[in-house]
């Protein structure tokens, strides 16, 4: 039976790597690589107009994705537009993540009145709908990267704060914290040196789960004209601009939109995987030992069939 089932084992040394969702990871790598190094894939300019060649459909010679209303190659614009979307998402995560982390650690560790007060504030910010606040910002100020990042961060830091504070509360009870206090470490030192590193894995999980939503939000805002403004290409904005030509040139909207869907899909899948990896219950389920047992019994070891019941 061993020899018959040997082909089912994913022959990989690293136990974690075995469970990586292959398709999203590869797709994500391709997308990120081509967005960060567009020069390797295309020579066209994103802004130079080429009016004789406007509105060519995808598949025409030299233009895989076709051209837009000014004759600019759509594939190039999609590649460069991806950079802006990713940049905004990264900035939002950095800003709101730092604020959320700081507030969460301070509130969770210090406890008492400070905690209660800060949590009230967090609850209030948590109930702000990010998109509406961002729209208000965009109409009050000029649309642009700074406006969008500020607007989204104002609502998003509270999401981070909630989850991380729960984690801080758990860590606070550990023995080494008590030891540190007895040894005379100041509160600040304990917060930075002991709590912060241990909170980072939860932070990573929340970040990878939320990055999809942040990208989606920025795209919707740009689509509505409340996000990134032309001429900077951003996927959401390209979809919005292409709306007028939907009858004749569907590719102007659908292709950048498809890129968006693909990117968010990859991030969501990877985020799910990271969350499953970090979850201590599921870690047992997805570990090498259980996989080997199932494989020996002849049960499929692919990830979709794993449930807590059949991994005993």
């Amino acid at each position: 039976m061993y020899k018959q089932n040997k082909h089912m084992l994913n022959n990989n040394k690293n136990p974690w790597l075995r469970t990586v969702p292959r398709t999203p990871a590869i797709l994500l790598f391709i997308i990120l690589f081509s967005v960060v190094f567009p020069g390797l894939f295309t020579d066209y300019s994103t802004t130079l107009a080429d009016l004789p060649n406007r509105l060519l459909p995808p598949g025409t010679e030299g233009h895989i994705f076709g051209t837009d209303t000014l004759g600019r190659d759509l594939f190039t614009r999609v590649l460069y537009g991806g950079r802006v979307s990713l940049l905004v998402a990264a900035l939002v995560l950095v800003v709101s993540g730092s604020i959320g982390l700081t507030v969460a650690i301070v509130a969770g560790y210090l406890g008492g009145k400070v905690d209660a007060l800060l949590m009230r504030i967090v609850d209030i910010f948590l109930s702000f709908p990010p998109m509406l606040i961002a729209i208000v910002f965009a109409v009050a100020f000029e649309p642009g990267v700074l406006t969008v990042v500020t607007a989204i961060s104002i609502s998003y830091w509270s999401k981070f704060c909630r989850v991380i504070r729960a984690d801080v509360l758990q860590i606070k009870e550990q023995e080494y914290i008590a030891l540190a206090k007895v040894a005379g470490c100041s509160d600040l030192y304990i917060m930075v040196r002991h709590i912060l590193p241990n909170v980072l894995d939860t932070f990573l999980v929340v970040m990878s789960l939320e990055i999809g939503m942040v990208i989606r939000l920025e795209a919707t805002l740009s689509f509505l004209g409340a996000g990134i403004a032309p001429p900077t290409p951003s996927w959401g904005q390209m979809v919005g601009a292409g709306r007028d030509y939907l009858m004749n040139a569907w590719w102007l909207s659908i292709l950048p939109g498809g890129a968006l869907a693909a990117l968010i899909f990859c991030f969501n899948m990877i985020g799910d995987w990271i969350r499953d990896m970090m979850d201590p219950h599921l870690r047992a389920v997805l570990s090498v030992k259980t996989e080997k047992k199932r494989w020996l019994k002849g049960i499929s070891t692919s990830r979709e069939t794993i449930t807590p019941a059949n991994t005993k």
Partner: protein
């Protein structure tokens, strides 16, 4: 329970005040609002006269209280661009939005039940993978993209469904799908995870031992306990649907509150945006509060918090 109720209500009020302050402050921070409504040839004295007339020369907090006073009385001011009173305009539009939401949201929630059951009971099969694939896609793809894709496929190429405006029964279909797909996807995933846990528990085994057919096990017993997580997320999703309708209504030219907000963005009509955002936020806060109170009633552990 009473303490929890009071606490929750107080929080709701505080949130509303905070949002109104932010919305109000942003208008003033971003520059003199007079610049938006005064014509170019206006002189200094004209500005001064207009400021006095509109009450804009008074200290900020007085302006704020006057603004909130009139809002609470139902007077929402006038749109700077169209010079129409905002109140009636907004509420008419809200009615249309509600019609769309009332169609898409219940269908999304109801449809997620059988889908989640399929995904949870036939783990690893093709049907389960298909369902989860739809769920993941529905959560990833932005709703405006889904809307445009549906328009291209069904209105432009197949010509079977209308792509714009509120015309009749068939005009609800495409916008309804675009709006509800995200909710459907989220609910299916949450419910499926919840069901997976519930279906392995002991009392489900007991029900099976008692001889109940599998369908009753799934629908009556498993679902009841698995649906708690779904209820809270359903409440939040409903609130988000109102916000999500901005994009969908724009795509389908649906005459709803979302489209009104879009028009406000395009024409930089701050008064309109201000009112719309305030009212929608207020609705969301109220809905979240109701959901939390119901949740506190169902699950006594929450009240300790």
């Amino acid at each position: 329970m009473a303490r929890y109720l009071l606490k929750r209500l107080g929080q709701a009020v505080l949130t509303l005040i905070a949002i109104s302050i932010i919305v109000f402050a942003l208008a003033r921070i971003s520059g003199d609002p007079l610049n938006l409504i005064m014509p170019e040839w206006a002189t200094e004295e004209d500005f001064q006269a207009m400021a006095e007339k509109l009450g804009l020369d008074q200290p900020l907090y007085i302006q704020y209280f006057k603004f909130m006073g009139s809002v609470l009385q139902g007077d929402f001011g006038y749109s700077a661009i169209s010079r129409q009173p905002i109140g009636p305009m907004f509420f008419r539009a809200m009615l249309n939005s509600v019609k769309l939401i009332l169609v898409s949201f219940p269908i999304a929630i109801l449809l997620s039940l059988p889908l989640a059951i399929i995904a949870a009971t036939r783990v690893g099969s093709a049907s389960s993978k298909f369902v989860m694939g739809i769920a993941i896609f529905g959560q990833s793809a932005p709703s405006f993209f889904i809307g445009l894709l549906l328009i291209v496929i069904f209105s432009i190429y197949l010509g079977v469904l209308p792509a714009a405006r509120m015309t009749g029964f068939s005009s609800y279909i495409l916008p309804g799908i675009s709006l509800g797909l995200f909710a459907l996807a989220s609910q299916t995933r949450i419910l499926r995870n919840s069901l997976l846990r519930v279906l392995r528990s002991d009392y489900i085994k007991l029900v099976r031992l008692k001889g109940a057919p599998e369908s009753r096990v799934n629908w009556r017993h498993a679902l009841k306990n698995g649906s708690l997580a779904m209820l809270t997320s359903a409440g939040q999703l409903f609130a988000r649907l109102v916000v999500g309708s901005v994009a969908v209504e724009t795509v389908f030219a649906w005459p709803g509150a979302g489209r009104l907000i879009y028009d406000g963005i395009m024409s930089r009509d701050y008064a309109l945006i201000q009112t719309s955002v305030l009212v929608i936020c207020a609705m969301m806060v109220v809905m979240n509060t109701i959901v939390d109170i119901i949740y506190g009633y169902i699950d006594p552990r929450i009240r300790v918090y």
